[in-house]
């Protein structure tokens, strides 16, 4: 366990010392500022605008980090050969994978928390109060974090067996596909061969469904989010991550380093 923790903390340290991270956070803060400005132009809907823009910014920034740094977690170590001395230690390959994942997840948590704090500050600035209904925003941020963890796991999986560029494309592609699962399932009309439609439905259930984590509407309007959904999404993310990481660890364990 501590070996995984060691790798995780070092990954976190790398992200912190990597100046790219600071720029992204800065950009998100700029987004928040513009959200406040926009909120003042459209009267009566500042809450909706700020929450929507804020959550979107957190999501997009988080996704960029998850995809690009997620892919680099493994490929950078292989390319730069920093991995060689490391694997000569009593560290198993699957421990390495888990440690890297945990490190980036920790980084994303810190990053997202910082941006969420910024979002709440902006909200307070505009509304001059924080109500109970605003906990929905907190839940929305938590869901974004779950989504990002899953994206990181996928990015790591692809980077274990393809080039970094392909891994980025596959991960991004899978994310976009996961957004349209709803459409895939709601296909109506006899225009499509029913067998094909059933196949699509099957696939739509197995694909990582990122729409599960989208509660932006409820958060923006301050509607409470049911506890059942929170529990289910948590288990969904944990289970899916476990599957992806297990496969990634298996692939990586058999990979010949150049």
């Amino acid at each position: 366990m501590t070996r995984i923790g060691t790798v995780a903390l070092n990954t976190f340290r790398e992200a912190v010392r990597d100046r790219v991270l600071y720029n992204l956070v800065f950009f998100a803060l700029v987004m928040m500022a513009s959200a406040i400005l926009v909120g003042q132009i459209s009267i009566d809907i500042e809450q909706i605008v700020i929450v929507s823009l804020g959550l979107s910014a957190i999501s997009i920034m988080g996704l960029l980090i998850s995809v690009f740094i997620g892919v680099g977690l493994v490929s950078k170590e292989i390319d730069k050969r920093t991995l060689y001395a490391l694997l000569a230690k009593p560290l198993r390959r699957w421990e390495f994978i888990l440690g890297k994942f945990a490190g980036l997840a920790l980084t994303l948590t810190v990053n997202t928390a910082a941006m969420a704090a910024g979002l709440f500050l902006a909200l307070f600035y505009v509304k001059h109060s924080i109500e109970r209904a605003d906990t929905a925003v907190l839940v929305a941020v938590y869901f974004i974090l779950l989504k990002l963890a899953l994206v990181v796991a996928l990015a790591m999986l692809f980077s274990c067996f393809t080039t970094p560029l392909l891994a980025i494309l596959f991960t991004a592609g899978l994310y976009i596909a996961g957004l349209f699962v709803h459409e895939m399932r709601a296909l109506q009309g006899g225009l499509i061969d029913p067998a094909f439609r059933r196949l699509l439905q099957w696939i739509s259930y197995l694909l990582p469904n990122f729409e599960n984590f989208d509660v932006m509407g409820a958060a923006a309007h301050g509607r409470a989010i049911p506890g059942a959904l929170i529990a289910q999404n948590t288990v969904y993310a944990a289970l899916y991550c476990a599957i992806v990481l297990a496969v990634a660890a298996a692939i990586f364990s058999q990979r010949n380093l150049k």
């Binding site: 060691t6 990597d18 920093t82 009593p90 560290l91």
Partner: protein, 319 residues
């Protein structure tokens, strides 16, 4: 005989290449070799011979096509055994956003040390490889030689029983190489087993108890350097000066090589004293008498050329 520290049996490695990875290049074939506990073993060979491949196989960075190996009695698939092994990779590179102290501390965490033990060891290692003052600088600012030293430090930091070094002298200036040689000798004195690969033959001759020579993926010979090149000396060499007025040594001079006033003459051991008597009678001033031994380099080149001849013969046949 006690169990060897490193026991390699029939280790083979193929690399797939080409379209759809269907063709295979055999970079190591049937390597069987032992390194005894407490000895310094040199792994020699030209570039691309398979030295690094063997070491990477031992360290489980790549996986064998066939064959097996054991280190300290345990199969190489047992990763827990890495706690007793130190490894210096070829042209090492470490996280450039960390300082040397941080890198060593990071690697040390994978072994069971207390926090105080760990920091004490890190400091000791930094001193040992001469990086004490640079310990707080980020590795991105390090020269190649400094990185090599960090690599060496992390390899021996945890006091392993077996130390595996892949081209430890590469990139070092003569001072650095001397320091590495001293460290290796110190490890030997501590009773550790050292396996290192190199293509610098003089280092091997100086340091190793035994060497293994690998050419073209195959082990060509194993043994003490002196054994390999043949115990038989090829005679004696007399270095002397001759005044121009010397006579009666004409046929001796004909066999000698001359540089200015000095002559080098090779004679059989049996005929040494006779030659010396004749030379001193002619008034020569004898400067030195040394034994002529073939060097490891000659043995080495001989093997390399033999391998090349065989390879081109195969090509001719294939055509």
């Amino acid at each position: 005989m006690a169990e060897p520290a490193i026991d390699i049996e029939n280790l083979t490695k193929d690399y797939p290449y080409g379209f759809l990875q269907l063709k295979k290049r055999r970079s190591l074939e049937g390597l069987t070799m032992q390194v005894q506990s407490g000895e310094v073993f040199g792994f020699l060979g030209p570039n691309g011979a398979g030295k690094s491949t063997t070491i990477k196989l031992l360290m489980r960075l790549i996986f064998p096509t066939a064959g097996s190996a054991r280190i300290l009695g345990r199969p190489i698939s047992d990763i827990s055994m890495h706690g007793d092994i130190g490894y210096l990779p070829e042209q090492p590179y470490f996280y450039d956003y960390l300082t040397a102290a941080e890198v060593l501390d990071y690697f040390a965490r994978f072994h069971d040390f207390t926090a105080t033990e760990r920091s004490e060891r890190v400091q000791r290692m930094l001193k040992k490889v001469g990086l004490e003052s640079a310990g707080r600088i980020q590795l991105r600012k390090y020269s190649k030689g400094m990185l090599q030293r960090v690599g060496l430090a992390q390899a021996i930091l945890h006091d392993p029983a077996v130390v595996v070094l892949d081209e430890p002298m590469s990139g070092l200036d003569p001072v650095g190489r001397r320091e590495v040689r001293d460290i290796i000798l110190e490890l030997k004195k501590q009773g550790k087993t050292v396996l290192f690969s190199t293509h610098i033959l003089s280092d091997a001759e100086m340091l190793c108890d035994r060497v293994g020579v690998i050419v073209g993926g195959k082990l060509q010979g194993v043994g003490a350097p002196s054994e390999l090149v043949g115990l038989k000396a090829q005679g004696m060499e007399i270095l002397f000066e001759l005044p121009t007025s010397a006579t009666g040594v004409g046929e001796l001079l004909a066999q000698a090589t001359r540089t200015g006033n000095r002559y080098r003459l090779q004679v059989e051991e049996s005929g040494l004293y006779a030659a010396m008597e004749r030379l001193s009678a002619a008034g020569a001033k004898i400067l030195s008498v040394t034994q002529v031994k073939p060097s490891l380099e000659e043995y080495f080149m001989h093997l390399v050329e033999a391998d090349r001849a065989q390879a081109s013969a195969v090509e001719v046949r294939a055509k």
